[in-house]
Subunit: 375 residues, 2 copies
């Protein structure tokens, strides 16, 4: 079992490649983490997730603490064994879901009390309990417990929320007992306010985390604002630690964030879209539900080597989406994750070759093309 | 492309093994055909279906004629290419679904007029049109168009229905132009009435079909009655043609029907049950939704080599079913189809070794055991 460590390999202007080593293996960065909310990446087997090129997945503390319960998962051998995923796992802290899913929550300095969205049971979550749950699950990357600041938000409210999150980050740090090969990430908050983001980043850096996430974005503020926040707060973070942009985003978002120095991403978009007939390709997003695909024998993307593109035409994928076949969700999810991983690998290559700028220009031009190639 | 032919290999009392050769490959009998209603076996990739051991699948004329349409499938290269299944495909004739799914149907000597359950469009189906659709799809095994007799039914109604089906069978036969390696099966009707079944079987044998199905069962009459019908009508069918029991059944049904001389089966049970948390095992049916599995680390069936049993414990499968994860449907469908195919292979082996009687006794004893093995 190796130690938890991040090695910065190459930089290209602000874009970076690196290697994050964990107890369950190495993550090449920039990296995209498929979301496995309830200990399963929706509509995918773990073998299929590996085949897409994914090296790490995300699981949700909030969902797993409610069902099946962290202690039960531990009795069953831990999360990796439970869900048959042998690679690294990052667990979020539950903060975001407490705000977005739970009813009747009460936030105090001590923590949060809420009613489960599953059975209405009263549950408490605190920085210490969140870290304990993530440790019990056996996470490789543990996230500090934070309050998710609403959007839009006035600066005075954002400041209060950020300072609560910073107090919780300190308590999370204090309660985290490193298992070999595991690490704890702090989360920069402060909404869209530069001064608050600076205060948050400086507080966290003073606490010395194994990695730093940028949180409280992807809540409706838009890509331009997100990029402005990254521009202002990433230079405040230490270069030798991984940087993780939480819950974000579309392919163009990933490229823009990597250009600004982000190393890690997670987002439900590729998996959720796969269940609603939406595919991401080199040539932009494609809605397979659209009638124009009904007689089209061409692959979704002729340059893609995923099973959906290799073995089927658009007409068949359209048919599966229209008839509500589970296989449609399976194939489009597989394709989307495969595309996201291909995109990350291409970005890593471009950075290593110091051609990221040219890559980004080509990417944008290709995304704007018609998704239908000539026969 | 080989010709369509059935070779009877071995018999053990009334049970039989054989080889049915088609344009798209060989089917070892007794054989179970997974159901791919809308050109997809629900929650399975074709690669996974092959891995279960399945050699042939069934697709539904009724569903495919309405969506995406047989002519469209043909323009897209035929059903095999469309759905990426290179093995044999049997298509039913649509008779059963017209009766069970369509609204406002009118049955006449000419055929059936009905409203589509999808868009309400008025559609006509006749023996000639059903055979034409199946030919257009590119089916390896084409079924005659028949009327599905309701249950329970008076003898006089069953007689009238059976005679209509026999007239339609003759017209189906006349309109079938054999493509190389394809064959046409007649369907014995007559409900539970021996005289009607005899009349039906003799009529069909006189028309000389490539195989004979027993239809109008699995509609609520129960296993005992089904077996009585098989006992009385299978001896009337030629030994050198395959015999197919339609839409039937549970594992014990398959064993009992093979004992009586059936060679082919289809049923939605393993796939549909896989989507509702029900698993079939050597030791009987298991409802994974049941709370007793919540902390059970043991595999669903330690003797099974499917991914659900090889890679996960019952507790995880229970968790997937309870949380409604698509992966639960995928894994349990895979397991169920794998179990059905293992069962068919074991029956073929037992027949080849003339030990089918002993096999059936062991099978029944094992099915009655607790599904939980000692740790």
């Amino acid at each position: 079992m190796s130690g938890f460590c991040f090695e910065l390999l190459t930089t290209d202007v602000r874009a970076r490649t690196g290697r994050l080593s964990t107890a369950h293996g190495v993550i090449e960065t920039p990296s995209f983490m498929p979301v496995g909310t309830a200990a399963a990446v929706k509509a995918m087997t773990p073998e299929a997730v590996v085949e897409t090129g994914a090296q790490v997945i995300l699981a949700n503390t909030y969902h797993l603490m409610l069902r099946p319960g962290a202690e039960r998962v531990k009795r069953l051998g831990g999360l990796h064994s439970f869900m048959n995923w042998s690679g690294p796992i990052l667990t979020d802290s539950g903060g975001f879901q407490v705000m977005s899913l739970a009813a009747l929550r009460t936030v105090s300095e001590a923590g949060v009390t809420f009613r489960s969205h599953i059975d209405g049971a009263l549950v408490e979550l605190s920085p210490e309990r969140s870290v304990e749950i993530q440790d019990t699950l056996g996470a490789d990357i543990v996230m500090v417990f934070d309050e998710c600041t609403p959007w839009p938000v006035e600066e005075v409210v954002a400041a209060k929320s950020m300072r609560l999150s910073m107090a919780w980050a300190e308590r999370s740090r204090a309660s985290f007992a490193e298992r070999p090969g595991s690490g704890l990430f702090g989360i920069v908050q402060g909404s869209v306010y530069d001064d608050l983001r600076r205060e948050s980043a400086e507080t966290l850096v003073g606490l010395d985390f194994d990695g730093y996430a940028v949180g409280g974005l992807a809540v409706g503020e838009g890509q331009k604002t997100t990029f402005q926040v990254l521009d202002s707060c990433l230079p405040l973070l230490p270069e030798d630690r991984p940087r993780y942009l939480m819950g974000f985003g579309k392919p163009a978002d990933l490229v823009g964030a990597v250009a600004r120095g982000i190393d890690m991403f997670d987002c439900v978009l590729p998996t959720r879209s796969g269940r609603t007939g939406q595919a991401f390709t080199r040539r932009g997003a494609v809605n397979l539900r659209n009638a124009r695909h009904a007689e089209d024998p061409r692959p979704l993307d002729s340059a893609c080597s995923c099973p959906a593109c290799r073995n089927y035409g658009r007409a068949y994928l359209h048919h599966l989406v229209r008839t509500g076949e589970i296989l449609g969700s399976m194939l489009l999810t597989w394709h989307n994750l495969h595309y996201y991983q291909d995109l990350m690998a291409a970005m890593r290559d471009a950075i290593a070759e110091s051609t990221f700028d040219a890559f980004a220009v080509d990417f944008t031009a290709e995304q704007a093309m018609s998704d239908i190639e000539p026969l």
